[in-house]
Structures are given as structure tokens and as C-alpha cells.
């Protein structure tokens, strides 16, 4: 009887050990895969031998104030997230003189960019150098819509664009355009139901 109890106890202990080991294995060896995805964009964005490809960026025609699609070149890096980051950089560092310019307030910079497996492009911006009183709602709206369209228009994998300010969730970038509720891409939802007013 005592022997039986001991062997059952031993089997139970062995099963528990295997379970613990498998949990530990998953924890230490599976999580870094996500981390690798995030870190991938920190490595050089492209190799010197990578071919160039074109992307469409949203820019503003000075005379009319209309948003136009302008072609820009980026490198075809092996990691898709690196191409996305190059697109964001091309948008932020676009032309600020001439007939067509980027609607990016001067001083705006990219802190970090990463693309999550769920399809969210996270753009962390630095705006410490921008004077808030020099950016109104219209310019802020052009900037955010341009950023979203430049990303979602070129990369079908992006289902959502999340904008962070100095690494934090913020209600707005410059005080007017409300972040957090609008940066969703995807099929336009059905027309809102309600009485015909």
C-alpha cells in the first residue's frame, strides 16, 4: 500500500515537473519572438545592396491646400517593419518648401516605431521641439491623417495605427486632434443607424 502511494506520488511529481518545465520553456523561448519583431526595426533599416521601391506619401499642395499622393523612394529591406519605419521617416522628413509640402509641424521627430503581430503600427513621436501655439486643429488633422494614410495606404498588413507622444498615451499631439479613437484602419463601418434627421 505504502509502495503504491509512493509510486503515484512520484508520477504526479514527474508530471508537475514536466508541466513547470514546459511553462518555463514557453516563457523564456516564446516571448522573445515578439521582442525580436519589435527589435527588428532597430537594426539597420536596410542593407546597402537592397533595391529601392516607391511608396505614396500624403502631401499638401500649397496653392489649393489639397492633399495629394506623392511618390517617395525607400529601400526594400527584408523586414517589412523596416520598410514601414522608412515610410514614416520619409513622411516626417519630407519637403518643407516648394509647391508640394508635407503637413508635418517643424521639429516633429520619430522616437521609435514598431509593428505588433496583431497588425498595429505604433508610432512614437517626439514633439518637444514644436511650439504648440503654432499648430492649429487643421494642421494637426492634416498631419495625423497624412501619417495614417501614408502607412495604411502602402502596407495592407497594418490594421491599426497607434500614435504615442514621448512614449506615452496622450489625448492629443498638439492640443486639438483627439488621439486614440480614430487611428483605426480597415473597411469603413456601415452607415450609423438612427432616425433620418
Amino acid at each position: 500500500m505504502k509502495k503504491n502511494f509512493n509510486s503515484k506520488w512520484f508520477v504526479g511529481l514527474a508530471v508537475a515537473t514536466v508541466l513547470c518545465l514546459s511553462i518555463l520553456w514557453r516563457h523564456y523561448y516564446s516571448s522573445p519572438k515578439v521582442e525580436k519583431n519589435r527589435l527588428a526595426v532597430h537594426s539597420p533599416l536596410f542593407d546597402p545592396g537592397d533595391k529601392t521601391t516607391s511608396v505614396l506619401l500624403k502631401e499638401v499642395e500649397m496653392e489649393t491646400g489639397k492633399m495629394l499622393n506623392i511618390t517617395a523612394s525607400i529601400h526594400q529591406s527584408k523586414v517589412r517593419a523596416n520598410q514601414m519605419q522608412q515610410t514614416v521617416l520619409a513622411y516626417l522628413q519630407g519637403p518643407r518648401s516648394g509647391q508640394v509640402q508635407v503637413p508635418v509641424p517643424e521639429g516633429t521627430a520619430l522616437n521609435e516605431f514598431y509593428f505588433t503581430p496583431a497588425g498595429a503600427a505604433v508610432v512614437d513621436l517626439s514633439v518637444g521641439q514644436v511650439k504648440k501655439e503654432s499648430v492649429g486643429f487643421y494642421e494637426e488633422a492634416l498631419f495625423v491623417r497624412g501619417l495614417i494614410d501614408s502607412l495604411t495606404g502602402n502596407f495592407f498588413e497594418i490594421k491599426q495605427v497607434k500614435v504615442l507622444v514621448e512614449g506615452q498615451d496622450a489625448p492629443t499631439i498638439f492640443g486639438h486632434y483627439a488621439l486614440g479613437t480614430s487611428e483605426v484602419n480597415g473597411p469603413a463601418p456601415a452607415a450609423p443607424k438612427g432616425p433620418d434627421l
Binding site: 491646400g65 503654432s134 483627439a178
Partner: protein, 237 residues
């Protein structure tokens, strides 16, 4: 006994007609006016033009025009003072207005834009599926009512009634869009937590010399305010 019962009923009826009915009949629709920024928050600046001062100027002219048109007006900011966004939202929601007008001036670094401009908040995704909307959610009904208010103002100000093609897809779905329209459906920090029909009204761009010239006289501002008050009367009809 019967006599007393009949007298009681007659007494209550008399009370109703003498007090309650006249009160109901004279109830005026409430319009909430919020001059944005103020105090330490100056809003946008172009040279010596400061947004918070223009916001207050237009709010005061609108208050006069709306009171003249028979509305009860609740003004959120009456002087140059700092009010936090949360406090503003609380004050506006507590007023339970039939319509809310948030006054903002704007600026455009490209110099091509002019007022007036209108902004309505897009509906929150999924807000139509819950019976009790979560805090801060803009229901489709609220969105459509705000859009109706914006269109009434656009019509009186001679603006295009179509939504701008820059609008958010949640509000512009099913709408015909115009690239030249100045009526936007975009998320605005000032509209985020409001539960009444609300629009952001931008009479002028501080970066536009023609806008500043147009509103250099008090008469021009008061004429603009009269048009807006007529639009509110159209909306609340």
C-alpha cells in the same frame, strides 16, 4: 366629503394652470457657448493675434445674438481664465443644452485656408451595440444630430453642406464627400466627452489676412453671430 375631494382636484388643476403650465410654456431652449482656451492656455498665435481673445470676442457677440433670438445661453468662459478640459466637459454636460457651440480660431502654416470651418465628432465604433453607452462614447444618434446642427450653420453661413474628404471613415461612410468642403467629421479634443449635439465653430483663421480684415469691425462679428443664431433656430425648429 365629496365636496372636499372635488375642491382638492380643482385646487391642484388651478395650481397646474397657474404655475406649471406657464413655466413649461415659457421654457427657452438652452444653448451652451464655450470660448476655447483662456488663461495660461492662449491657443494658437499668429503675430499679435491670440486665439483665446478672439474666442471670447465671438462668444460674447453670439451670446447677445442668441439671447435676442429667444434662447437661454450658458457661457462656460466669460473672461480670461484657465478651465481644464475635464471641468469644461463637466460644465457643458451639466447645462444639458439643446445645442453646444465650441468656439475655436485656427491657423494654417500654408496660408491657404480661410474660415468658417465646422467640426463634428465621429461616432464611436461599437457605440450602437450597447444599450447604455459607455462614458465618452458618441452614439450614432448624437453624431447625426450634431451633423444636422453643423449643416444648419453651414447653410446659414453659405458653406458647403457635404463632409470634407479629410473626414474620418466612421462618420463619412455613406456620405458624399467634397475636397473643398470646410465641414469636417474628425475627433476633436473639445468634443470628446460631450453628450449633447455639439460642433466646433471656427469663424476665422488667424493666418488669413482676409479673415482678419473681414472681422476687424464689431458689426461684422455681430452679423456673423446673427446668422449663427438663425441657424440654431432652424436646427431647433
Amino acid at each position: 366629503m365629496k365636496f372636499f375631494t372635488v375642491t382638492k382636484i380643482l385646487f391642484f388643476r388651478l395650481c397646474f394652470f397657474l404655475f406649471l403650465f406657464p413655466c413649461l410654456a415659457s421654457a427657452k431652449p438652452i444653448v451652451v457657448l464655450d470660448a476655447a482656451h483662456g488663461g495660461a492656455d492662449s491657443g494658437v498665435k499668429v503675430g499679435s493675434e491670440i486665439e483665446k481673445d478672439w474666442d471670447l470676442k465671438f462668444a460674447q457677440a453670439l451670446e447677445k445674438a442668441l439671447q435676442g433670438a429667444g434662447f437661454e445661453v450658458v457661457e462656460i468662459r466669460k473672461r480670461d481664465e484657465t478651465i481644464t478640459p475635464d471641468k469644461r466637459a463637466e460644465m457643458i454636460n451639466t447645462a444639458q443644452g439643446s445645442a453646444v457651440l465650441i468656439l475655436h480660431m485656427d491657423r494654417d502654416g500654408f496660408g491657404s485656408q480661410k474660415g468658417p470651418q465646422l467640426v463634428v465628432e465621429p461616432p464611436t465604433q461599437g457605440a450602437e451595440t450597447t444599450e447604455i453607452p459607455r462614458w465618452g462614447a458618441i452614439t450614432p444618434f448624437q453624431f447625426r444630430t450634431s451633423l444636422k446642427l453643423a449643416r444648419a450653420i453651414a447653410s446659414r453661413l453659405g458653406m458647403e453642406a457635404q463632409l470634407s474628404s479629410l473626414s474620418d471613415s466612421r462618420g463619412s461612410s455613406g456620405e458624399s464627400l467634397s475636397p473643398t468642403s470646410r465641414l469636417f467629421c474628425l475627433p476633436h479634443e473639445s468634443l470628446r466627452y460631450l453628450n449633447s449635439p455639439a460642433v466646433v465653430l471656427t469663424p476665422l483663421f488667424l493666418s488669413s489676412a482676409s479673415d482678419l480684415k473681414k472681422f476687424s469691425s464689431a458689426d461684422a462679428i455681430s452679423e456673423f453671430a446673427t446668422k449663427v443664431s438663425l441657424a440654431l433656430a432652424d436646427f431647433l425648429q
